[in-house]
Chain length 139, copies 2
């Protein structure tokens, strides 16, 4: 994954700092992560980029749709990458923190129906089910 292409695709001026931050974000693409984790990743690689710049790019990516904010933690704003991932919702294990993703067209269709009834124009939604994953429920 080419950081420069990613930046130019979204009309984000390419700079040394942004390339490094983007690289860190790409390396976290299979997780849910927060801005501090991006910073931590850079720190571990001994790449000097300021906190502010990391927060700035994460927020910019979020605005441009490269990242999707996900409310999985009330303390930190978590994100997931949107490339190579369709919209989905989350099951969150209260015991071990595991996150299971799922897609369900039928639920989405019913949401659309509810919105029609309420004369509401849906733009996005988040469905989060909290509970226990199989392992934690059996333990």
């Amino acid at each position: 994954m080419d950081t420069n292409k990613l930046l130019s695709k979204y009309s984000i001026r390419s700079t040394k700092a942004r390339q490094e931050i983007a690289k860190a974000i790409i390396s976290l693409r299979h997780k849910h992560f927060c801005a501090e984790e991006v910073i931590e990743r850079l720190r571990k690689k001994e790449i000097k980029v300021s906190r502010a710049s990391a927060y700035r790019l994460v927020k910019l990516f979020s605005k441009r749709g490269v990242l999707r904010p996900v409310d999985l933690n009330k303390r930190w704003q978590m994100y997931e990458t949107s490339f190579d991932k369709n919209h989905h919702d989350h099951l969150y294990c209260l015991n071990c923190g595991k996150i299971i993703e799922f897609e369900n067209r039928a639920i989405e269709n019913l949401q659309t129906k509810v919105c029609k009834e309420k004369k509401f124009k849906p733009l996005k939604h988040s469905l989060k089910i909290l509970g226990l994953c199989r392992e934690c429920d059996n333990a």
Copy 2:
């Protein structure tokens, strides 16, 4: 609504401070509100109760199920009272902040089905649809 009954029902030791905080919370029962709004309410009535105590009772009520935390604002933890209100989900207008509540058994049933497939034991969930209410969409 009797604050003392509310407290004793949930085995919460009744004190002067708690009665006042509970009264403030009850007066906000038809809104979504955060701890600071409870404090503001007390301040306006010139009732002296410390911030810490208000936060403490709100959290205790939340743990005991008197209040339900609702993620409607990323800055403040919002709550709604659970007495005289069944479980429901929310439509949230991004423009004016209006909140429309709705209940839909069919959606909940599908959620249960998804959990079964994923061997996940659901305990609670939150579904939030963000968009534009009728007035804001037409404006």
